[in-house]
């Protein structure tokens, strides 16, 4: 899996789109656009909340999340993050700004 650090990710039409219920170490989110309910782990929640606020490059998002996780934002971390973003993309929650996947 290769990913360009400059690729940008976003949440489309984020205003009022999601209903959140934060429970224990996981969260449940309801997507009013799809009508689907999803169970997300803490890292996915942190990624989603940032992308709701605005577009992020992979590098910038990895930097913020790595700081949160107290881990280096190295290639391995970015690869894990890409895998997570692709999972969220498969669920229709996030998108590549340029439409790629």
């Amino acid at each position: 899996m290769t990913a360009a650090a400059g690729e940008r990710w976003c949440v489309r039409a984020p205003t009022g789109r999601f209903l959140w219920e934060h429970l224990d170490e996981e969260s449940v989110v309801y997507d009013t656009r799809s009508g689907q309910t999803h169970l997300l782990n803490a890292l996915a929640v942190e990624a989603m909340l940032r992308l709701q606020a605005g577009d992020f490059s992979l590098r910038a998002l990895a930097g913020e999340l790595a700081t949160l996780c107290e881990t280096p934002a190295n290639d391995a971390f970015r690869a894990d993050l890409v895998a997570l973003l692709r999972q969220l993309s498969d669920l229709g929650l996030v998108e590549r700004v340029d439409g790629e996947h």
Binding site: L19, E21, L23, E25, E26, V28, T32, G35, T37, L39
Partner: protein, 291 residues
């Protein structure tokens, strides 16, 4: 009551629903009288009923070989005919179908609900859970029956709405409850139905009498019958319990955002546990610690 059903229309109320039953078959009418005799009987005329149900013999050639019965709701026949001996189980399944497909004024969770000391326990139904057996045992040992099949909640509420119907027991559970709760009033055993042998436990009269009293959510307990296992409560993450409730609702997706916020409210108001059990005495003692 039985005569009314046979004569034309029996109009009665179970929990929040009013129904009219038309049937000229003697067996289901007798069982409705015996098992729902504590329900409020209404005048057939002048009522706005939720469901208009009918049990009738289909006019197919097969009826000359083997009598059958079909279930009619609002003029539709959603199921294939069954042997006439299965008329009462068919009525119960048919009413389940009517409620599950139309009563969207409620979030409908596929679950039993019992209550004691104002604290309601929701027990979601999953295959092999032993939910109905446990429910029958509880409601004959100090717990109030709200429902064995439908956890009904008005959107945005944390109160379960009673719908005290018969508890259908299957196969080994029938004799188990006959022995464990000999005071339980039970109908006949219908053998080799599509769900195996089935017998219906009458809803306790006190539960029917209190059918207008909602009960506040306090616990979500996922029962699981496991032969030989000591009864015990185990933790389950509330997020996991949330998702399990969503997936076993009859109409969560239809409810949209209201379904989500209602489940969220129930989970916030409830402690969530798994309950493994095999022995009814043991698990009842465990439940008494919840009340």
């Amino acid at each position: 009551m039985a005569a009314a059903a046979r004569a034309g229309a029996l109009c009665y109320r179970i929990g929040p629903f009013q129904l009219t039953l038309r049937s000229r078959l003697a067996q289901p009418a007798r069982l409705v009288h015996r098992l729902y005799g504590d329900c409020e009987v209404l005048e057939p005329s002048g009522q706005i009923n939720d469901f208009h149900l009918q049990l009738r013999r289909p006019r197919t050639l097969r009826r000359w070989l083997r009598p059958q019965v079909e279930f009619v709701a609002e003029g539709a026949t959603p199921f294939s005919p069954l042997p006439v001996e299965s008329a009462f189980p068919m009525l119960e399944w048919g009413l389940n179908w009517c409620v599950a497909t139309t009563a969207h004024q409620f979030l409908m969770l596929h679950a039993a609900v019992v209550e004691k000391n104002g604290r309601a326990v929701l027990m979601p139904a999953f295959p092999g859970s032993g939910k109905s057996t446990l429910c029958a045992a509880l409601v004959h040992n100090g717990w109030r029956l709200l429902s064995d099949e439908f956890g009904l909640v008005r959107p945005g509420s944390c109160e379960y709405v009673p719908f005290p119907r018969c508890i259908p027991l299957k196969n080994e559970s029938i004799d188990l409850i006959r022995g464990f709760a000999p005071q339980a009033v039970m109908g006949p055993t219908f053998v080799k139905t599509r769900k195996g042998d089935v017998a219906h436990v009458k809803p306790p009269a006190e539960s029917v009498r209190r059918a207008d009293e909602t009960a506040r959510a306090a616990y979500v307990i996922f029962p699981r019958y496991r032969p030989g296992e000591t009864a015990r409560l185990l933790p389950i993450a509330r997020s996991r319990a949330f998702m399990k409730l969503c997936t076993n609702s009859f109409n969560y997706e239809i409810m949209g955002a209201a379904g989500f916020t209602t489940v969220a409210g129930l989970i916030r108001a409830s402690e969530c546990r798994l309950c493994h059990f095999s022995d009814l005495d043991e698990v009842l003692r465990l439940f008494d610690t919840l009340a």
